[in-house]
């Protein structure tokens, strides 16, 4: 595999950024859905047959050859698949995940599909019924099958920094299981149910962290704790007092466990939280909970101005993301992508502590030219010292 341009290896670049040191260049990271990935491979002239199994968000892992040709510094590696089959259906457009949540492939205008949640298995459950629910088993041997070998290979034989997710969300998984509207109502009118559900989910996620950190923790540079969207476009989903009272205790215990055990394996590893939306009011708490990296810094969400966030929290948090996926990447011109990337590098990169990435799994409506424009802008503006 070829070395990247610049004076550092990809992994050195990422580790420096994570340590709030200025690397040679701002590192680049990305996650992508299957349609956008196929378009990108075609655009880059990469003829690579892959047996791809999109995840819940229709995302697929990026092959190291594609990551190298495109110019990523961070590669997101998958984990194993449980041996226990999830619930099955004859409907070719529906499937169930390991938690029993029903997903449906919804056709996209222009071709392809996007997975959407269509049935919450615990929508009518009582607190007593939680015990009898068919929960996923983190100790299923399939979860760690092949993980150590693959992560070791990528670590030893490539330059990439490795990002991964082991145990996942607690708050967000709760509303996948219950239905968002029902769960948010539960938070006011059924707090005992919420407590029981969050506690159960957190215990399972901790199990996933336990087995996977043991299997491959020493190769992980960034552990993405979960996708815990705590913000809408305009506001936090719940108030800070409600977060502190009902959600923080579960996340804090889980994050502390993950970080403590991960650092035993790789003392330089960092924990990252993905949380879409207007989440700036939660940041002091998340920093207090020893978070290292925040993703995705959604540009169009209220209160997420990158200059303000860097000034307020840049010494404590590394920022991962910033490249708008609601307008700039899908609908912007090449010049708009270039300018937007330049702005985020200017805001977030000084002093290190920034890894540039699209703010969400790249959707099928993003032209590959725009992804290349983002990458080219990182090449054009991202070398240190940043003077923009």
């Amino acid at each position: 595999m070829n070395k990247s341009k610049g004076s550092m290896t990809r992994r050195e670049r990422v580790v420096a950024a994570l340590d709030h040191k200025e690397p040679d260049r701002v590192p680049l990271s990305m996650s992508i859905t299957i349609n956008a990935y196929d378009n990108l491979k075609h655009y880059l002239g990469i003829d690579l047959e892959e047996d791809l199994n999109p995840g819940r968000w229709t995302e697929v892992p990026i092959h190291p050859l594609v990551a190298e040709k495109f110019g990523l510094d961070v590669i997101w590696l998958p984990t194993g698949k449980a041996h226990k089959k999830p619930r099955q259906t004859d409907d070719p457009n529906k499937w169930y995940d390991g938690w029993g949540v029903e997903w449906t492939k919804i056709p996209l205008t222009g071709g392809g599909y996007y997975n959407e949640m269509t049935c919450a298995p615990l929508k009518d459950a009582t607190i007593q019924e939680l015990e009898d629910f068919d929960w996923p088993d983190p100790f299923d041997p399939g979860i760690t099958e092949g993980v150590r070998e693959y992560y070791k290979h990528i670590h030893n034989d490539t330059e990439f920094a490795i990002l991964t997710k082991f145990g996942g969300a607690v708050f967000e998984q709760a509303w996948y299981l219950r239905g968002m509207e029902t769960f948010l109502l539960d938070m006011v009118e059924n707090p005992e149910f919420v407590e029981a559900l969050l506690e159960k989910i957190a215990r399972i996620q901790m199990g996933f962290d336990e087995v996977l950190i043991a299997a491959a923790g020493e190769y992980v540079d960034i552990l993405r704790l979960s996708g815990e969207d705590m913000g809408t476009q305009e506001n936090p989903i719940i108030s800070l007092p409600m977060f502190r009272r009902m959600v923080r205790p579960h996340l804090e215990r889980l994050w502390a466990y993950a970080k403590e055990n991960l650092l035993k394996k790789n003392p330089n590893a960092k924990i990252m939280l993905h949380s879409c939306g207007a989440v700036s009011s939660f940041l002091p708490d998340w920093i207090d909970m020893k978070l290292d990296v925040l993703d995705p810094i959604q540009p169009k969400a209220k209160g997420m101005d990158p200059f303000e966030l860097k000034a307020a929290f840049g010494d404590k948090l590394t920022f991962h993301g910033g490249i708008d996926a609601q307008h700039v990447l899908p609908f912007g011109t090449i010049e708009e992508v270039r300018e937007h990337t330049r702005k985020y590098i200017k805001a977030l990169a000084p002093g290190g502590g920034y890894i540039c990435a699209p703010v969400h799994n790249v959707q099928g409506d993003v032209p590959p030219e725009n992804l290349v424009a983002m990458r080219d802008a990182v090449e054009e503006f991202g070398y240190y010292p940043i003077n923009l």
């Binding site: 449906t104 919804i106 056709p107 996209l108 205008t109 222009g110 996007y114 959407e116 949640m117 269509t118 968002m180 509207e181 948010l184 109502l185 938070m187 006011v188 009118e189 809408t232 476009q233 305009e234 506001n235 936090p236 989903i237 719940i238 108030s239 409600m242 169009k300 996926a325 609601q326 307008h327 899908p330 609908f331 959707q363 099928g364 409506d365």
Partner: protein, 211 residues
């Protein structure tokens, strides 16, 4: 029945008290329209303000909306379709290809609380269904919701089909959802955009020149 108690109960999301007071009000001979306009609507209006001020969040808003809806059920049994007491009729739905509904549901609840007659078509609604409903219900407002950049084109297509069907000048089109902006709303020929549910009520009233 003390109307201030009803307003307070809506704000607090106290469903049993809202229902009790609505029934009490009706038993005391109060007009259903009065209970709505002087009790439920001001209550939800305050909830909307609390939300916009960052004091209420989605859980609290849903809790109050649920209480309000419970009270409204008693009143809807009394409102006759021919003698509508509603401000105007709104047809609302999430556009074809988009399955997200919590934002749309909250807009619907808040608009009901404000006195609109709301016809909710649900999610993944084809344009033709919107056209049909606007015609059938003689809707004054068509409210379209989308959450994804990939379903925004569907919003544009829906407005195009509404225009082609010849009913465009009979209805005001309001759009909203996370990726939607007023610039996009203008581009696709919508009449208005609102960034949240209380804003949708204000915008709808403005478009229809209602106080």
């Amino acid at each position: 029945m003390n109307m201030e108690d009803l307003v307070k109960a809506v704000i607090e999301g106290n469903a049993p008290v809202v229902s009790r007071l609505v029934v009490q009000g009706l038993d005391e001979g109060l007009e259903a329209a009065t209970i709505l306009s002087e009790g439920l609507t001001p209550g939800m209006s305050t909830v909307g303000e609390l939300f916009q001020n960052g004091e209420y969040f989605l859980p609290e808003m849903l809790f109050s909306a649920k209480a309000m809806a419970g009270g409204l059920e008693h009143l809807e049994a009394i409102f006759s379709t021919s003698d509508s007491n509603s401000l105007a009729t709104v047809v609302i739905g999430t556009v074809k290809g988009d399955l997200h509904d919590i934002g749309k549901n909250i807009v619907g609840m808040i608009m009901k609380g404000a006195g609109f007659n709301v016809v909710d078509l649900g999610i993944d609604v084809p344009a033709e269904r919107f056209v049909e409903a606007v015609s059938e219900k003689s809707a004054d407002i068509l409210a379209l919701s989308a959450l994804l950049s990939t379903t925004m084109p569907s919003m544009r297509d829906t407005i195009g089909i509404v225009a082609k069907s010849g009913i465009r000048d009979r209805v005001k089109i309001l759009v909203g959802g996370a990726p939607i902006t007023s610039k996009f709303a203008d581009e696709i020929g919508a009449d208005g955009y609102a960034e949240d549910a209380p804003g949708a009520v204000t915008k709808a009233k403005g478009l229809l020149k209602l106080s």
